[in-house]
Structure formats: C-alpha cells, structure tokens
C-alpha cells in the first residue's frame, strides 16, 4: 500500500502504457480500415459508402490524436 501511495509514473510505466496504447491503435486501425475497404468494395451506393467511411475516419483520427496527446502528458 505504501508503494501505491507514493506511485509515480516511471519510464517503464510510460513505455508499457505507450506500447499498450499503440497496440490498441493498430488493432482498431486494422479492423477500421478493413471495414472501410469492405464497405466501399461491396456497398451498393458509392456515395453513401464513401460518406460513412470518411465520417468514421474523421471521428477515429480525432479521438486517436487526442489519445496521443494524453499519452504524451503521462
């Protein structure tokens, strides 16, 4: 408990946190871009498929950028 009270983020903690965060980003990017690819390839309305894909990418990149900013402050 004493260690917990005096806990400070160390270089190791930052490294592990960064590793976990970027592993999650890669995973979500893989599934997200796969979904975009499948949607544009198989979607019946090109315009709608592109619009939804762009909407998703904008949201995802915004949140990811925010996450990177938070990671840098750890």
């Amino acid at each position: 408990m004493q260690e917990f009270n005096t806990f400070n983020p160390s270089t190791l903690t930052q490294t592990i946190t960064g590793f976990v965060f970027y592993a999650v980003i890669i995973l979500i990017t893989f599934f997200g871009f796969s979904t975009v690819f499948v949607l544009i390839k198989n979607g019946r309305s090109r315009a709608l498929s592109f619009a939804v894909a762009v909407l998703y990418l904008v949201f995802f990149l915004t949140i990811a950028a925010q996450g990177v900013g938070i990671l840098n402050s750890i």
Partner: protein
C-alpha cells in the same frame, strides 16, 4: 439500355426490381444495445469521482483519460461495423433471379442465387405482436430440387415482397393463380 450494376455478377440486361434489407427495428435494437455501452461512460464520469476520487488526481487522471479514449475508439469502431454489416446484408430481386448477399462478418460473405424459373412456391409469414405492429416478417421461397429454400428474415412488408416474387416468377411459369 444502360442498367446500373449494383451487385457482382449482374447481367447487362438484368433489371433490379427490389432491394430488401432487414427491418430498421433490428438495427435500432442493436444501436440501443450499443448505446448502453455509451451510457457506461457517462455513468463512470458521473459517479466514479464520488466513489473513487483518488482516480481523478494526478498521476492517475491521465491513465483514466487514456482508458476512456481507448473505450471511445472501440465504441466508434463498433457502431461503424454494426452499420456496415446491416447495410451489406441484402436480398436483391431482379427480373431473372433472387440474390441473397449475407455479410456474416467483416471478412465473411456468402452470396446465394436462385433463378426465377426454379421458384416453386413463396410463403410470407408475420408472427407476433411487434411483427404485426411494425409490419415485418419472413418470406420463404421454396425451390425446385434439393436446393435449400431461400428465407428472407425480418423484412418489411413481407406480403408485398411475396406478391412481387410471385408476379416475377409468373413470367416463367405462367400467370399467378387467383388469391
């Protein structure tokens, strides 16, 4: 005549009569389930500071914010995948055949086709309170031979779809019988 192609394998002179998807109510229930996960985030923001105030002090606050950020990314991905699978799951009735495109998952798709001359019988079914109120049900297309029957599940206006298929098959089998 230049007919727009909307699915793989569509013939040059093949005209699309109807595109059918699952009734919107089922997408709504999935979005509602997704929304419960969004609610978890709001509940955390509202109640966690009261019960675990330590978590919202430095240096833990940044880790909490990072965790929330990852959670939101999963939420957005989940909604996107939900919508994509709903949108790509479709049955198409043309003047020549019925095509069932079943998007099982992002990396899994099954396409089944049934030519109209092979349609033996079409049955529509509306069963249950919500089905009756919202107007959705199933349409089963019986095929000639040993092929599996086509089933359109939870589609809107099943009776109209049934009549449409029967009218289309009438071009091959002769006029449809009296109702």
């Amino acid at each position: 005549m230049n007919i727009k192609k909307l699915f793989p394998g569509q013939q040059d002179d093949e005209e699309i009569i109807l595109i059918v998807r699952e009734h919107w109510f089922f997408m709504f229930t999935r979005v509602l389930a997704w929304f419960l996960f969004v609610l978890v985030l709001f509940m955390f923001d509202k109640y966690a500071p009261q019960y675990i105030p330590r978590l919202f002090e430095e240096p833990y606050l940044n880790f909490v914010n990072l965790g929330k950020n990852i959670y939101v990314m999963f939420l957005i991905l989940g909604l996107f995948m939900l919508w994509t699978i709903y949108y790509l799951n479709v049955q198409i009735i043309t003047n020549r055949r019925i095509v069932d495109i079943w998007q099982k998952g992002i990396f899994s798709q099954r396409i089944s086709e049934l030519t109209l001359p092979n349609v033996e019988d079409v049955t529509s079914e509306v069963r249950g309170f919500w089905s009756t109120v919202l107007g959705y049900g199933n349409v089963e297309v019986q095929t000639a031979g040993e092929k599996e029957n086509f089933i359109f599940q939870n589609i809107p206006e099943p009776r109209e779809v049934e009549k449409l298929i029967i009218n289309q098959t009438g071009h091959y089998h002769g006029p449809a019988g009296n109702e």
